[in-house]
Subunit: 128 residues, 2 copies
């Protein structure tokens, strides 16, 4: 497999930042090392890496997709549509559900960073 310098830098950035980063945020960091790099190159690199399962791509309701390294440990999130807070749930219970669905449908799930929207406990108390 051919190694792209952009891919390599993205992996380093994501490994270092350890957060949900937008394509633009990643682009800005890469530019420091490769000033001539184009934004669509970053989009395409991220797309490649998502297809390989190296990074997750998710819409967390912020207007632009966020990317995160998968290697560190599979996890998922609950996003409150009222206050925007983000709860993290580990893969264990989700994995049981996925396995059940996979068995019942002869289907191998690739989704590696599930986002469920709703209302958190705090907001549920206040807003009814």
């Amino acid at each position: 497999m051919r190694t792209s310098s952009v891919d390599q830098i993205i992996l380093e950035v994501l490994a270092q930042e350890h957060a949900h980063l937008t394509s633009l945020q990643i682009f800005e960091v890469i530019r420091e090392r490769l000033p001539a790099v184009n934004q669509s190159t970053v989009y395409r690199a991220l797309e490649r890496m998502a297809k390989r399962g190296q990074v997750s791509v998710s819409d967390m309701g912020t207007g632009s997709a966020v990317y995160e390294l998968v290697a560190d440990g599979r996890h998922h999130h609950l996003v409150c549509q009222v206050c925007g807070c983000i709860l993290t749930i580990d893969h264990e219970e989700v994995g049981r559900f996925f396995t059940e669905i996979e068995a019942q449908n002869q289907f191998k799930i690739a989704t590696n960073h599930l986002i469920l929207f709703g209302v958190c406990g705090e907001c549920g108390k206040n807003g009814g």
Copy 2:
């Protein structure tokens, strides 16, 4: 609550077509009855209706979001990233998982049309 003519037509269209429709497809149908309607009006109407829980909005990997009436019965999908086929799973088993997650996290899930990506049985056999 104030009634918008566009909202009403969208409900009728979705109830009749009974499918995953893009904003553009909905727009084209509405134009037959309201020729001067603007596309952003349709986007805003769909956004309103999604917030009310009347319709679901989902990225099914086709390049544009698809909308569907929720009223008819809550369901979810598995989308094959190889052949594009769509399996439907009813809410029962998903609901059990949601309830578990809700209890463990004091969180009320609003997601009403879950999309899980992966590889279907047929493609799994062929492509390894």
